[in-house]
Structures are given as C-alpha cells and as structure tokens.
C-alpha cells in the first residue's frame, strides 16, 4: 500500500520506469564526454614541473602560446559574425514559397559537403597567385600584382566562411520560417513600411535565433584546425589554439599542457557563448507565432 503510495507520489512528479530510457544516452555522455573532460582537467593539473598550475602558467606566461587565443578569436568572431550577418538578408528574401526555393537552398548548402581538404585545395588552386581569381583580376586590369589570399589570415577566414555559412544559413532560414508571417502583414496594415516591418518585428523576433546560430557557428569556427594548417600560416598569423593544443599533446608529448590548453579553449569558448546567450536573454524569447 505504502509502496503504491510512493509510486503515486513519484508519478505525480513525473518519475517512473520510463525514465530508464534515458539511461543509455546519459551513460554514453557521462562516460565519453564528462569523464574524459574531467580526466583532461585532472591531467592538466599534473604537469611534469611547475606545480598544480604549472601547465596553465606555462601557457599564459609564454606570449607565443597565449596569443593563440587572440588569434583564434580574431578568426572565429569575424567569421561567425559574417556568416550570421550574411545569412539574415538571404534567408529573409527566401521566406515564403517560391519556385526553385528547394534548389536554391540546396545550392547554398552544398559547401557543407566540401570538407576541409577540398576547400583548402580549392582555395589554394583558385585564389592562389596564379589561380583563376588573380588571373581574372589581372586580365581585366584591376590589379597588376597577384593579391595574396592564401597561406595567411584570409585563406583560413574564407574557409571558415565557406564551411560555416551553410550551417548559419540553414538555421536562420529555419528560425525565420518559425516566425508567423501574419505578424508582418499585421504590421503592414498598421502602416509599417518594408524596413520598419523588418527592423521592428522580424529582427527582434529573430534575435534569439541569431544568438543561438552565432554560438553554433562560433563553436565551429573556434575549433578550426585542419584549415588553419592547410590554407593558413600555422606558425604565424593563423596559429590557433587547437594547433597549440595538438602541438603540445602530440608533438611535444606534454599531455598536461595539451589538456590545459584544451581546457582553456573550452573556457574561452564558454565565456563567449555565455556572453551571447546573456545578451539573448535581454530579448523576447517566447513563441514566435509558428507552432514551435
């Protein structure tokens, strides 16, 4: 009797046997994500020398290492901002139904399939000093020296845009179509012109979606690794944090330092995400009229 009573009490709060279905998923995340992460944090506090915080000290006292954070942010933030900012007007124009929408969406999403290597090769071939791009510009006389767009900041930046844009675009398109189109029509009947409808209705409703999209694109860009090596200048202007982490762990065999850098990377990224999500909470975040 008291057994059923307890069962009922738990059931009232939503606890019953069905929750067991969560267990495999939770187990995987705990074993494969939380534990390794904790292990990595633990490892980062056991450097060969320098005490508990030695690895962190080593990272922060060495300008060459420390600066990788600024380098990475310098790449990831503008790239994420551009991806989001460029997606908004395009997605906005692609609301509603029109013929060829699916095709155009597919085309815009194609870069997802390119992969780092093809993007890198493509950038090197196409934007390289004698690639078609420079050739075209030179043959129409815009420039007379090839502009250098690869093996430096720009190469990595372009590859981040090419791989990040489709994600941002898809998400924003999706958020936009979640906004009830009658809201804009309502605004129109109230005398709002095109720009006012966008800026006063659509944009504020989209803002939380923009923040989420920005975070996800930023995460993608922040962890840039292969393209920083392949199209960048991995010793110089594109020495990003992940290169430092990889170098420490797999070239210098300093696992504590590698873990410490990974932890620092996670922290920096979470800080950015937290700031953005904090800003997001300033906006209206409820239903946007679509049946979400």
């Amino acid at each position: 009797m008291s057994d059923t009573a307890l069962r009922h009490r738990l059931a009232e709060r939503g606890v019953d046997r069905q929750l067991l279905l969560l267990v495999p998923g939770l187990a995987c995340v705990l074993a494969l994500f939380v534990y390794p992460f904790a292990y990595g944090i633990g490892l980062s506090f056991q450097p060969a020398s320098g005490g508990v915080l030695g690895a962190y000290r080593a990272f922060f006292t060495d300008a060459y290492q420390r600066d990788t954070i600024a380098t990475t942010l310098g790449l990831a933030l503008p790239a994420a901002i551009l991806n989001v900012a460029a997606s908004v007007p395009i997605a906005y124009l692609m609301r509603g139904r029109f013929r060829g929408k699916r095709f155009l969406t597919t085309i815009l999403v194609v870069p997802i399939t390119l992969g780092t290597v093809l993007t890198a090769e493509g950038l090197l071939n196409y934007l390289g000093p004698t690639g078609w791009f420079n050739r075209a510009l030179m043959s129409i006389g815009v420039i007379d020296e090839p502009v250098r767009l690869t093996n430096n900041y720009w190469g990595v930046f372009f590859s981040l845009v090419i791989t990040g844009f489709p994600f941002a675009f898809l998400l924003i398109l999706s958020y936009l179509s979640g906004i009830d189109p009658t809201l804009e029509r309502a605004a129109a009947t109230l005398g709002a012109g095109r720009w006012q409808r966008f800026s006063r209705i659509t944009l504020p409703l989209l803002a939380p979606g923009l923040a989420t999209t920005f975070c996800l694109t930023f995460v993608l860009a922040f962890s840039v690794f292969p393209s920083a090596v392949l199209v960048g200048d991995p010793a110089g202007s594109t020495r990003v944090v992940s290169i430092a982490a990889y170098h420490a762990a797999y070239e210098a065999y300093d696992y504590p330092l590698g873990s410490a850098i990974a932890v620092i990377m996670g922290v920096v990224e979470l800080v950015v995400v937290a700031v953005v999500l904090g800003l997001r909470s300033l906006f209206y975040t409820g239903s946007t009229g679509g049946k979400g």
Binding site: T182, L183, R185, A186, T189, L190, G191, L205, Y284
Partner: protein, 348 residues
C-alpha cells in the same frame, strides 16, 4: 487615405496557380456599414479580405475608394485596420506597445501617441494589463488587444478575419456583443469574415454569402434568413431539412412537391416547373407536431434548455429534424406538418 463615402469592389478576382480562389466579387460598402462575408472553409473569404487590405494583389478587377483607385496602393498606405484570426499580436511587445505601434509608424507626437493609446486600451478595458506581453493574456484579452490595435488608428475601414473562431462558446458570445458595440459607438465601417451563420446574422447589416469563390447571395440578415436564394445558402442559414423531391404541381408561388413518401406544399424560390427535381428546405423549428401530416418515428431526442431537438424518420427512412416542447419518447410515432410559407422549394 482617410474617410470615404463608399468603397467599391469591382469584379475582383484572385487566382492561385491557375485556380480561382475568388471570382467576380462586386460589392459596394457604404460608410458605417457592417458587412459580413460568410461561407464554408476555403470559399475565398480570407482571400477577399486580403485583397481588400492590399495584402494580396488582385488578378483582375479593381477596388475604388470613392473616386480613387485603391488596388495599386500598398497595404501600409490604405489606412485600414485589420484584426487577424489568430490576432497576430507582436509577441515581443507589451500590450501598450502593440497598440501604439501603428501610431508610432505614423510618427505622431509622443503625447498624442500616449493619449490615443490610453484611450484605446481603456475602450477595450485592458488598463490593468497594459504592461503585459500578449503571451500572458487569455484568448479573450488577446482578442481585445487585437481590436484596440486596429481601431486606435481610427481607420476608414476595419477588416476582421474570423476574429472569434479561437474563443470558447461563452467568450465568443461576449466578444460578439463587444465588437458590435465598438462598431456602433465608434462609427466604424467593418468587413467581417466568418463561417458561423449565427455570428454573421447577429452582427452584420449586410451579408455576403460566398461559395467556391463566387457570391451566392448578398442581403440583409432578414433577407437571407427568410429567403435564401438557393439550397446552399439555405443549408448555411439553418434549413437543416433539405429534402430532394419532385415538383408535382405549381399554383402561382405555391408548389406541391413529393418524394421519398412525403408530399408537401411549399413556396418556390426561382423558377420551377412540374416534373423538376427540386430541394425542399425546412428549418427544424418550422416542422410542427400536429394532428394531420406525415407520420414519423422519433429516433433521437436532445434537450435544448427550452425545447427538445428531435430527429425522426419517415416510413421511407428519410430523416427529419424538428423541435418539440415536450420530450417525446424514443420510438414514439408522431405526425408533423409545416406551413407552406415556411417550406422553400429550390430548383436543384
């Protein structure tokens, strides 16, 4: 664009991908009128309203406001107010800012915006809720915000697209009175879309009945209620008994029809000749239990507060809906008649 004496729709037509959603709608709306567009789902009511609002371009025809052509003017410059079916309140703006939105778009001075907003909010009795977001309001309150937002601009014309369809029965009744009150007290001109005949009858000065994008009948509520132009309008106007029959004889306006074991006298609507297939329409409340008449067996009895709704079946198996003041027993046999003036005979 502001005040006007009349608004004219002239052969308005709208196609969607080759299919007509609305054809040849011609209608003159006089200042101060309350017009209801009535019809079943998909008949083109919203299409008509959106054309009027400028939210949909016309495929053919024109719209005139007195002598100005209106159908080329974008919606934001027509100066009409609109109340949407799901209200379309801006979810991120407070009630006050929803209501003042239109005034701000007009760049009115701050003071005036404040004054008129307050007035409108008061009119719909939402003073206490002015600072809330729409998501925190009940359906009826949201409804009132939508109305306040539309009328605060003192629009020449207010358009309403099934504004009550999302409310529950009791609230619907209340809001209906509210809408009629506002229309009267503010001297608005209103076009109102609904699929509920009761609502249309109770609110409108004139009704436009649509079916499949075409106008079936335009008239006052009384006209429609008593003299529907055809069986479809009748169906919509509560003629629940629609019996396919054959004309036996015609004597002036009175015709005798029979079919399915019944013989009835009725009033012809339109031209009918003996031998024609017709539909006889009778409201349940016009079928009276009496001494003489058709014998039927009671099948279903429903209590309706004052009277009982009865479904009965004739010997030939035709179902009839009628009303009774006393509860008949299920299975009981009674006889029913109808006054010839209450039986409408439509050419089918």
């Amino acid at each position: 664009m502001s005040d006007f004496a009349e608004l004219r729709l002239d052969g308005v037509r709208r196609r969607f991908g080759g299919r007509d959603a609305l054809t040849g709608l011609s209608l003159t709306i006089r200042r101060g009128e309350f017009i209801a567009l009535l019809g079943p789902s998909g008949c083109g009511k919203s299409t008509a309203l959106n054309c009027l609002a400028g939210l949909l371009p016309l495929s053919e025809g024109s719209i005139w406001q007195d002598e100005t052509r209106l159908d080329t003017v974008p919606p934001e410059r027509r100066g009409f107010g609109m109340v949407f079916q799901n209200y379309a309140l801006f979810p991120h703006l407070s009630v006050r800012r929803n209501v003042s939105f239109g005034l701000q778009m007009r760049r009115l001075p701050r003071d005036e915006v404040r004054r008129r907003t307050d007035e409108a909010i008061k009119l719909v009795r939402l003073e206490e809720h002015a600072a809330k977001l729409p998501g925190q309001l009940s359906g009826g309150q949201q409804q009132r915000v939508a109305i306040a937002r539309a009328i605060v601009l003192e629009p020449a014309l207010v358009l309403m697209d099934e504004p009550l369809s999302n409310l529950d029965a009791k609230l619907r009744l209340e809001m209906r009175t509210e809408i009629r009150r506002l229309h009267q007290s503010l001297g608005l001109t209103t076009v109102y879309v609904t699929h509920d005949q009761e609502e249309a009858l109770s609110l409108a000065d004139r009704l436009v009945v649509l079916r499949d994008g075409r106008v079936e009948q335009i008239g006052t509520p009384q006209e429609l209620h008593n003299r529907p132009a055809n069986r479809h309008v009748a169906d919509f106007m509560g003629y629940r008994n629609l019996l396919p029959m054959k004309v036996k004889a015609v004597h002036g306006a009175t015709v005798t029809v029979d079919g399915a074991g019944l013989t009835l006298d009725g009033t012809a609507v339109g031209d009918v000749a003996p031998g024609d297939d017709v539909v006889a329409g009778i409201r349940p409340e016009d079928l009276l239990a009496g001494e003489h008449g058709v014998p039927v067996t009671v099948e279903v009895v429903e209590y309706q507060g004052r009277e009982f709704a009865v479904e009965a079946r004739t010997g030939e198996g035709v179902a009839l809906h009628l009303r009774a003041l006393e509860r008949p027993a299920v299975g009981e046999r009674i006889t029913v008649t109808a006054a010839p003036s209450r039986v409408l005979v439509f050419a089918s």
